[in-house]
Amino acid sequence: MTAVMVERTPSARDSGRKMPGWARVLLWVVVGFVALAITSYQTGVPQLTGSGTVQAAVRLGIPILLAALGGLWAERAGVINIGLEGMMIMGTWGGAWAGYQCGPLAGLVAAAVFGGLGGLLHAIATVSFGVNHIVSGVAINLLGAGAAKYLSTLIFEPISQNPRQSPPVPKFDTYSMQPLSGWLQQLEDLQRVGISDVAGILGGLVSGVSPLTMLAYLLVPASYLILWRSPFGLRLRSCGENPVAAESLGVNVYRYKYIAVIISGALAGIGGAALILNPGQAGYLEGQTNNRGYIGLAAMIFGNWRPGGLLGGAALFGYSDGLQLRSGETSVHALFYGAALLLVVVAAWQIWRRNWFAAGLSLVAAAVMYSIYWFTDELPEELTAYTPHLVTLVVLGVAAQQLRPPAANGLQYRRGADQ
């Protein structure tokens, strides 16, 4: 047997052991929190971890969270949904209309239905007609805005005397988890390092919660359980990973995509309702969604197409927006201190991993952040107003390469066609 001469034996491939995803996320949450707490005391800006800020973050984050969940459902089934904004607008209109007639619960349902209608249109275009998903999304954004304007001129104007606004819409009541919420408030008022911060954040989460907010909270684990732990979810996700394979196993890909996109629209619609049915909010108002649908999409990508992740994305956005709206320039300024702190941690971690370049880069960035903090007292108000967007951009720039979208996301699928 001389025909084959063996030259050498190859080395076996090694596969490193990795920390599970949830543990890493948890670790970063803890690190982020500690950095925030330290920052809050070192810079003397207690708002950073105040329950008020957290409540604002929740209120501002919920519509974004819902839009992001909408994005998740569609994209897990392989349909990119950039039309979330349009569906959200439809949701605000529908929610205000039904809410005005029959109360907030009806408003919520109607918002879901109207958003779902937008989803249906998107599904017809992308699934049945194979239209490019982005194109269809752009068109739906135009249509959603146009239809809502048209309808409100037609239907709201006679009641509210204003073509751009609905009449006042009844709101949900809010609830606090007593006595827990009260205790947390007391703890927070103590102003003790760590304890008060935790109390502030927890307190913010359990006080002044409306059913709509609760629903949004619930939808995150519910989406996870349905999409990852149920047969239905497995089928739905398989349509986003390999629809041809799914079809060959008897999964009706069209049907699942339709369902997913309609649910996506409904969630975006509920996101719209979250702008109008919570206490302190106005009814329908032209332009009030103000690109929150797009932000939701960003939060979803930020969260790596996972419910926990997008919760993080929406929370980050809501938090930085709440912070800048409530205590403006000073707290955003303090954030630079926090960023420097975080970057030092990152650098330490990179040194531990012997990744010298990344470590060096992080240290330099930390130095830059710190010097900005040190040498300035306030930042131009025009720029702090958009802190959330900047933070999103920066975090994506740091983390985007770890992201993994569904394999068949955005691809056209036709039954019976070869791959």
Binding site: N141, L142, L297, P380, Y386, L393, L403
Partner: protein, 362 residues
């Protein structure tokens, strides 16, 4: 897909379909669709509307070409809005601050606009190429950030005239004279820029190596890569060019009419550009047609208030057209592909009547 029928049929179908749909909406809400259409057409002849249509179509054409260049390689530059506004702002600041001979001054402003647009888009391009950030998300964020940056720039470098904030008035040497048509208005001189960009775009896409590489990257990134196209470089350059052209779009009205950039600078050019590029299928002439149509709808809708029709019907019409046109293209594409396969099948069958091909050569 190269037949004229395949090119022209879909948009025609789409426009007809959308018109029918909107007529239905109008009828339901109690308005007369025919009268609405007639009123809109009649509006073109009134005042400066015709000229306004041309002027705005010029800007639309520029943003649409910026979008089309991205589309050619499957890049979605949603940031055109921000690039266009920021570039207009920076260009106006520079234009108001320098003093150069006539002609040179305007040329400098045009260059500054293009460079600013390219640079702003370049951020998204770099993030995409080196960090893998989807340009859709980054440009959405950049759009919003540009608003803040503009507000900052206008406050620091601008001036107040009454209640409006804007950049310093541009001296006469920096202006671009238009073509005055008396009572019908003045066509901006820089509309010519749109024509030039259109011609350049047509040549670039159809006749040059770069255009070929651009299209190849869009049609099949893997094939382009195997064919030696450097995808990173293509993404970078395409985004830069797209941003640069977007950066020009605001200039015709600034140098031709407003002579300053104010914070009331119109919004919505970016999305209009995306929609028009889709409507025109990224084709230089198709986009021109789309820009004119879009502009016509925009300008003549101003009269709808007069006859008691909500002018939002036009937004609905625009959305429907975009959706219908892509659906129509897809349907026609499927039919044409099947027809082509039939043709090829026939041609091959007649050329090769024997069961087995080329067995004897083995």
């Amino acid at each position: 897909m190269n037949t004229w029928r395949a090119r022209l049929l879909p948009p025609a179908l789409a426009i007809v379909f959308s018109a029918v749909l909107c007529s239905a909406v109008l009828l339901i809400s109690g308005a007369d669709p025919i009268a609405t259409l007639l009123e809109m057409v009649a509006q073109v002849g009134r005042g400066t509307t015709a000229v306004d249509i041309i002027n705005t179509a010029g800007a639309y054409y520029l943003v649409a070409i910026a979008a089309a260049i991205g589309f050619q390689m499957n890049l979605l530059n949603i940031g055109i809005e921000g690039q266009c506004r920021l570039a207009a702002c920076v260009a106006a600041i520079v234009a108001g601050a320098v003093s150069l001979p006539f002609g040179l001054h305007a040329a400098l402003v045009v260059v500054v606009g293009a460079v600013t647009g390219a640079a702003w888009c370049g951020i998204a391009a770099l993030l995409k190429v080196y960090r893998g950030v989807s340009e859709v998300i980054s440009t959405i964020m950049l759009n919003t950030l540009s608003i803040g940056l503009i507000a900052f720039l206008v406050r620091v470098f601008g001036e107040m005239r009454g209640n409006s904030q804007g950049t310093a008035i541009i001296p006469d040497s920096g202006l671009v004279p238009g073509i005055p048509l008396g009572g019908a208005g003045t066509v901006f001189g820089l509309v010519l820029l749109a024509v030039l960009v259109g011609v350049g775009y047509a040549l670039l896409i159809d006749r040059t190596r770069y255009g070929f590489e651009l299209r190849a990257s869009g049609l099949s990134p893997a094939a382009a890569r195997a064919g030696g196209v450097n995808s990173k470089r293509m993404i970078l350059t395409a985004m830069l060019i797209s941003g640069a052209i977007a950066g020009l779009a605001g200039l015709p009205e600034i140098l031709g009419r407003d002579h300053t950039f104010t914070v009331n600078f119109p919004t919505g050019y970016g999305f209009a550009g995306l929609a028009i590029a889709l409507l025109g299928r990224n084709h230089p002439l198709g986009v021109a047609f789309g820009a004119l149509l879009w502009s016509f709808l925009d300008k003549s809708s101003l009269t709808l208030d007069n006859i008691g029709v909500p002018k939002e019907i036009v937004t609905i019409l625009q959305g429907t057209i975009v959706l219908a046109v892509v659906v129509a293209y897809e349907l026609v594409r499927r039919r044409e592909l099947a027809a082509e396969q039939r043709r090829v099948g026939k041609a091959v069958d007649t050329a090769e009547p024997v069961a087995v091909s080329g067995g004897e050569r083995a």
